[in-house]
């Protein structure tokens, strides 16, 4: 026996990467996201103009050599604003995703593992959050944050927006994690750990958490796209990023009246949101396939 079996020579990460690579759309999306992230990270170098610089004599210019994506309703360079706007949109998206994943995972884990009254309590909480009209909560939260008068919670900083979006979008993650945890806690490896005297914390975070990673990652990627779109809705409610700071959300909102006269003002920010959302979804798709040991690769 000189030829070792293939699987024996591979670490789980190698296995994962091997599976992920086979997912063409996911790989392409990963490349695209990488590219977009680079563009945004190097915005000051790539931008051709000042993102705030208005030129009212140069409004609604179609795409040209001077303005690669044309100019907007105040004569600002759209390409520049897309680059700078992406910084905020993606940061808000990532932050909100982090908040939502941490909240959702913890609630799902505790709820599924402990069961009983803790489960009932946490799941009722989840249902309450699911049933409250979102707009209503947003207005109330907006008023609350405003009344606190804390400097970092005021209009213009992204932290409150990410917090609010995250706080209102963890429910799906929590339910998915709970369902997986419910099944996992009865499995042999968990019982073995318990028999060896492992504490609840050890079981939860060292044994169950890695096994529920796949639903968490999938819901996280879905949440990111939702957060980017939600952001523009929040500035409508008077908190969050305010004009003239560009974000993809606020660049897209209110452009419907310009659709016939200056379609590029809507198309480019819309396209960026679309590309990021679809890329993230495909990456999530690829991750799920690669992480799920039972899943047969396509």
């Amino acid at each position: 026996m000189t030829t070792p079996t293939l699987s024996a020579s591979q670490s789980p990460w190698q296995l994962f990467w091997r599976r992920f690579r086979k997912h063409v759309m996911a790989m392409f999306s990963l490349f695209l996201m990488g590219l977009i992230s680079l563009l945004i990270a190097f915005a000051p170098l790539l931008a051709t103009q000042d993102p705030m610089k208005q030129n009212l004599r140069n409004r609604f210019q179609p795409p040209s050599a001077a303005h690669w994506m044309g100019t907007d309703d105040l004569g600002r360079d759209l390409w520049t604003r897309i680059l700078y706007g992406g910084r905020i949109s993606l940061t808000v998206g990532m932050l909100a995703m982090a908040v939502s994943v941490v909240l959702g995972s913890l609630i799902g884990l505790f709820s599924g593992y402990y069961g009983g009254w803790i489960d009932s309590l946490l799941m009722r909480l989840t249902e309450i959050f699911l049933s409250i009209p979102r707009l209503f909560v947003l207005i109330a939260l907006g008023m609350f944050l405003r009344s606190l008068d804390l400097p970092n919670l005021q209009a213009g900083s992204f932290f409150p927006i990410a917090l609010v979006i995250g706080t209102l979008s963890w429910m799906g993650t929590a339910r998915m994690v709970r369902a997986s945890t419910l099944a996992l806690r009865e499995r042999e490896f968990v019982q073995a750990c318990r028999a060896l005297g492992g504490s609840d914390w050890r079981i939860l975070f060292q044994h169950i958490l890695p096994n529920v990673a796949s639903p968490i990652i999938v819901s996280a990627t879905l949440g990111l796209s939702g957060a980017i779109i939600s952001e523009s809705g929040l500035s409508y409610l008077g908190f969050g990023v305010q004009l003239p700071t560009p974000t993809w959300g606020n660049m897209l909102s209110n452009t419907q009246s310009q659709m016939t006269t200056a379609p590029w003002t809507a198309i480019f920010p819309g396209m960026m949101i679309f590309l990021v959302v679809i890329s993230i979804n495909y990456i999530g798709d690829g991750l799920r396939d690669a992480l799920d040991p039972r899943h047969t690769p396509r």
């Binding site: 759309m25 705030m52 208005q54 009212l56 004599r57 409004r59 609604f60 210019q61 179609p62 309703d73 105040l74 207005i139 008023m143 209009a155 213009g156 500035s235 409508y236 409610l237 008077g238 305010q242 004009l243 003239p244 209110n254 419907q256 009246s257 310009q258 659709m259 016939t260 006269t261 200056a262 379609p263 809507a266 198309i267 819309g270 679309f274 679809i278 979804n281 495909y282 798709d285």
Partner: protein, 574 residues
């Protein structure tokens, strides 16, 4: 599954992009303006070969994104309801295109007694409602009873000063006032027929849903959520009018849809278009628009009092740290290029704002404010504001940073705010933007509203006097109308502007019947306001109705809610 959804999404997006590109003809040219303030009164009725001679017949379709709920003038609460009722409701007087009152159901404007307390009207004889009943003094009396009823939604201001309304004969109305009410004319601008029902049952009248009147049209059918059909009033007083057989008011899902339908010719006119929609209209074939100034300004309200929500009744006791200084307010006015805003953002369709009273019989034009950033800088220097490290001025550790609030979701306002921020930055003033949904923005003090409580630096919205400036000036500029906790947040003097002379002139004008004297007083008020700068008038708002070329003789009333003003003269060319 997700892959398939994503694919569908992609296809949809492509289709969407293609359709958008296909129909676009990029342009930044101003829309072709037509008859911005038409003043023709009668259509030239000549030989039939004349293309401008009115043709009788045809069905006109008017689109609107709002739907009326009730068509009883005494109970209406929205502008669309007021607009639709103007198809069939008339008054003793109406406003003509110069903003002056002219007799409609009265033979002439009323005579007023020496002391200004007794108003006598002579009614036209032989006027009939669309149900055949004759119009008499009893209808005027009934209307007054209706207004004074607890059920009525009409403001009783002015009406409650009518001590007695007598009908010595069916065609004479004598109204006796307990005190002089100078804008008395507006009290007689509509009539509710006496056989509508009894006043105590006003809310359940059949009239509310199936009204009639003396106007050119009468409601035939109303399909809620879809359309209202009006037909010719058979008893209309002018021979051969109205020209149209039918007017259909079609309820549309949105203004954007309306603009598309206007382009395809499915509707003949679209009511209540905004200035920001004009470029989209310019792209449509055979579509024009009619517009008139409304007497309202898009304006900035500057807060004289402290902006912490304590709502001081006298701002000199708790002044705004920045805006209480007149020099700063002057500097802001100098820094704003109003002409630039009107020319670019509004496509040269509006005039820069100059006065609180821009239109109507009491119009008081004032010299336009000067755009002069150098003067602005000099004034700020003089006031002690020195340029700091980041280009924003400072004084005693305080940054010259102000916040502007307006209603969110309004593209034009968002554009204006950003342009203002840029203009103010050029003289060293920082302007941050924070917009709120309109119900939050306009909320009263009892629900923590920022206007009433003075929790703002600068507000931007639209307001202005109606045809008679009395109530607007009184509530917006007198010291008695500063909203505070003590007065239950009543009043609209959000700037907390106090000027004894202004108070006195407004009081005096309200009890003066002589037109010229009143106007002189109001013009003194307008001039003084421009010296003290509690508000900055950015541009004069328009009331715009877009229409197809074949819809002729559409005119916009200076009293902008009655869109059917002159509906008897509407006609459709072939």
């Amino acid at each position: 599954m997700r892959n398939r959804n994503a694919f569908l999404f992609l296809m949809l997006l492509i289709a969407f992009l293609l359709s958008a590109c296909g129909s676009s003809t990029p342009t930044s040219a101003p829309p072709a303006s037509t008859a911005p303030q038409s003043s023709s009164t009668e259509p030239p009725a000549q030989a039939s070969v004349d293309p401008n001679a009115p043709i009788s017949g045809g069905t006109l379709i008017f689109g609107t994104p709002q739907e009326p709920a009730i068509l009883n003038t005494l109970l209406t609460s929205s502008s669309i309801e007021d607009a639709v009722t103007s198809l069939f409701v008339e008054g003793l007087v109406q406003v003509n295109s110069n903003g002056e009152y002219e007799a409609v159901l009265a033979e002439e404007l009323p005579t007023v007694s020496e002391d200004g307390l007794v108003i006598t009207w002579k009614l036209r004889k032989g006027i009939k409602f669309s149900n055949g009943a004759e119009f008499t003094c009893e209808d005027v009396r009934f209307t007054l009873e209706g207004v004074m009823s607890d059920l009525s939604q009409v403001s009783t201001s002015g009406y409650r000063d009518i001590e007695m309304l007598e009908c010595p004969d069916p065609y004479t109305v004598v109204a006796t006032f307990s005190e002089v009410y100078a804008p008395y004319m507006r009290l007689f601008a509509y009539i509710v027929p006496r056989d509508a029902g009894t006043v105590d049952e006003m809310e359940t009248w059949a009239y509310n849903q199936k009204p009639w009147g003396t106007g050119p049209f009468v409601l035939e059918e109303w399909t809620p959520g879809d359309h209202l059909t009006f037909v010719r009033n058979p008893y209309y007083r002018e021979e051969g009018k109205p020209y149209l057989d039918k007017v259909i008011i079609r309820i549309l899902p949105s203004r954007e849809v309306g603009i598309q339908l206007l382009g395809t010719g499915e509707i003949h006119a679209l009511w209540d278009v905004t200035e920001a929609d004009l470029p989209a209209l310019a792209n449509l074939q055979k579509v024009k628009y009619a517009a008139t100034v409304t007497g309202e300004n898009e304006l900035l309200v500057l807060n004289f009092g402290i902006n912490d929500g304590s709502a001081p009744a006298d701002p000199s006791a708790a002044p705004h740290p920045i805006l209480s200084d007149l020099r700063v307010r002057q500097a802001i006015q100098y820094a704003i290029d109003k002409q630039q805003i009107a020319d670019t953002l509004l496509y040269q369709n509006v005039k820069p704002g100059t006065t609180v009273l821009p239109a109507g019989p009491f119009a008081c034009p004032q010299p336009a404010s000067e755009f002069n950033p150098e003067k602005a800088k000099a004034l700020l220097e003089e006031a002690g504001w020195k340029v700091g490290a980041d280009g924003i001025r400072e004084k005693d550790g305080l940054r010259l940073s102000l916040k502007i609030n307006s209603t969110s979701g309004n593209l034009l306002r968002e554009q204006t705010e950003q342009v203002l921020a840029e203009m103010l930055k050029a003289v060293g003033i920082e302007l941050t933007i924070e917009n709120l949904p309109s119900d939050v923005f306009f909320a009263g003090g009892e629900s923590d509203g920022l206007r009433d409580m003075g929790k703002f630096d600068i507000l931007m919205y639209t307001t202005g006097p109606g045809l008679d400036p009395d109530s607007h000036l009184y509530s917006n500029y007198t010291s008695y109308r500063i909203p505070t906790l003590e007065n239950d947040w009543s009043g609209a003097n959000f700037s907390r502007y106090i000027n004894q002379d202004v108070d006195q002139w407004i009081d005096e004008a309200a009890v003066t019947t002589d037109f010229a004297t009143r106007k002189e007083l109001y013009c003194k008020v307008a001039a003084q306001i421009n010296k003290d700068i509690p508000r900055i008038y950015l541009y004069e708002r328009l009331s715009i109705t877009a229409h197809r070329e074949e819809f002729r003789n559409l005119r916009i009333s200076p009293s902008f809610v009655d869109f059917a003003w002159g509906a008897q003269d509407w006609w459709l060319s072939k």
